[in-house]
Amino acid sequence: MDAPAASVLDDRLYQRLVELAAPDGAERGPGRPDLRPAVEQALHHEARLLDERLYRAWLDRFTQDCVYWIPLDPTADPRTRVSYLLDDRRRMEDRIGLLETGWAHAQEPPSRTCRIVSNVEAWPLGDGDTLARCSTVVWEYRKDRLTPFASRNDYVLASLGENWSVRFKIVRLVDSRSDVRKFSFVL
């Protein structure tokens, strides 16, 4: 396997993430209806890749400078607070590599998931990127348990259409501040 790429996460990238995650003091207004079909195409495709555990194909949809973030407190600066995870591309590869070892006990047997993506809104960001927001419920079945993971997600999509790609993905779990079961599938 090739040596993993170096991290490109720097202060500037953190700053962009913080601004993106900040509560919308200035109401953005309704999303642009013309962007919605292409955004839904991407989000629905992503949901299917994850439900089918096609993790490598999923990772291929992320840019080299991507960030995948599951905050515990989405209003806090991740430079000063721990998150559930805040991954660059290298650690996303590690997460998938861990499952591929075949020895991740927490995924033996693996989770079966079904995710519902709804309330999709989208806005152009001016630099060619698209901001998408949605509500997601991932139903996870494993052993004798069916567990819902409800979240409001933010995406910054670097491109749309056939070659859609993700620059940022933020998963704001509604219960991130309470006691959650550790999960090792990809949300």
Binding site: D10, S83, L86, R90, R91, G97, T101, A104, H105, F183
Partner: protein, 437 residues
Amino acid sequence: MNALDTLIQSHRVHRSLYTDPDIFVTEMEKIFGGAWVYLAHESQLPEPNDFITARMGLRPLILTRDDDGGLHGLFNRCAHRASTVCQSECGSARRFQCSYHGWTYSNRGELVNVPFAEGYPPDFDLSDHGLAQVPRLGTYRGLIFGTLNPDAPSLAEWLGPAGPLISEFVDRSPSGRIEVRNCQRMVYRGNWKLAWDNAGDGLHPTFAHRSFLLLNERQHGGARSLSQFKASPDDTGMYGADLGNGHMFVDQRPGLQQSFWETQRPVPGREWYADRIVESHGDDAAEVLEMAPGSMINLSIFPNLLIKGNHLETVDPVSAGETRLHTWVAAAEGAPDEVNVLRMRIAEDFPSLGNPDDLEIFERCQEGLAIPEVEWVDMSKGLGHPAEEVAADGVRRAPVTHEGPMRGYLRAWLELMSADANLTTARAGETSFEKAA
């Protein structure tokens, strides 16, 4: 419930310690009341009138700082009809008012107002109806502990050889203080002692964390995080220790082949932040970077604090078969910001990649423990082994894969469970405070 001393034998422990609800109730009373229980860290309530909620076993607590800076462990229970009086996790407040009938308390626990006071008996005295309090509080290097046991030894005595090891953990910060930030909260379906067994267990990483070991070998190569457990961990110099009073220690530092920083798996931002530290600190950069990774020790303070990595993890039992773990991350006070940014990412690394496998295995253990006819859990590794050394201070050291630390905490467990302690609460002004270090 069987006689307790028949349940713990030199080499094995009975399953009922993990499954019996009656034992659980007694543990919550006698162990999580009779021992010195970790409550919070001073940096979580730095200013006068700050407070944070905590639990002592199943007892809800508000830990407050009064306007003179004094600490108080108030039970979160209205003296009137028992409702909790504080619903926030933390904050700042001079008064706590019960929402049920308006009884109002100061942050020292005194009852300061009862609405519609007319009608109470003539001998009704406000000073008899304050919030019940933890009678004894103490701190050690900023860690706050409390006990309901008037006969417990002093906090310094209770911690014994664990105290200086707390200092080693804290002294990794340039200022000699840690700053506790936020916490990851997780829950598993298993008894709290499964986490406790695991914390002193240097035998499991090779197997339970096989995915993490293999990942690091394949993706990053070399002597990365946890590689010291890859093969023959007992040949590395790593050791476990029973520190007495139930405290346990696992020292991974002798197993490292290179510095903490070189051993640390690459985390997001590693390169950029390390470059900044090299720019600003030149020849001292290597020393500064050494503050970012975890401490490479596992120091367990009985019954509810697991110090590991850069974490203060509290073990918070819910029932015989359910436990919460709250993993508070510590920043190094006085270190460059870059170090603490790296600490945040490092604090997500093993907890999200490695810990799910631990919790999965705790749940598998609890499943296996459900069989009544298969009664015993084996903890014999190292018993009577010539490599078990007892030092002058009573610390028993042994190779890291031995199970001596577990046998040690169970001795403390039995002692507290068998004691006829007279656990008490106190009124405002009747509490004691000891600053142990």
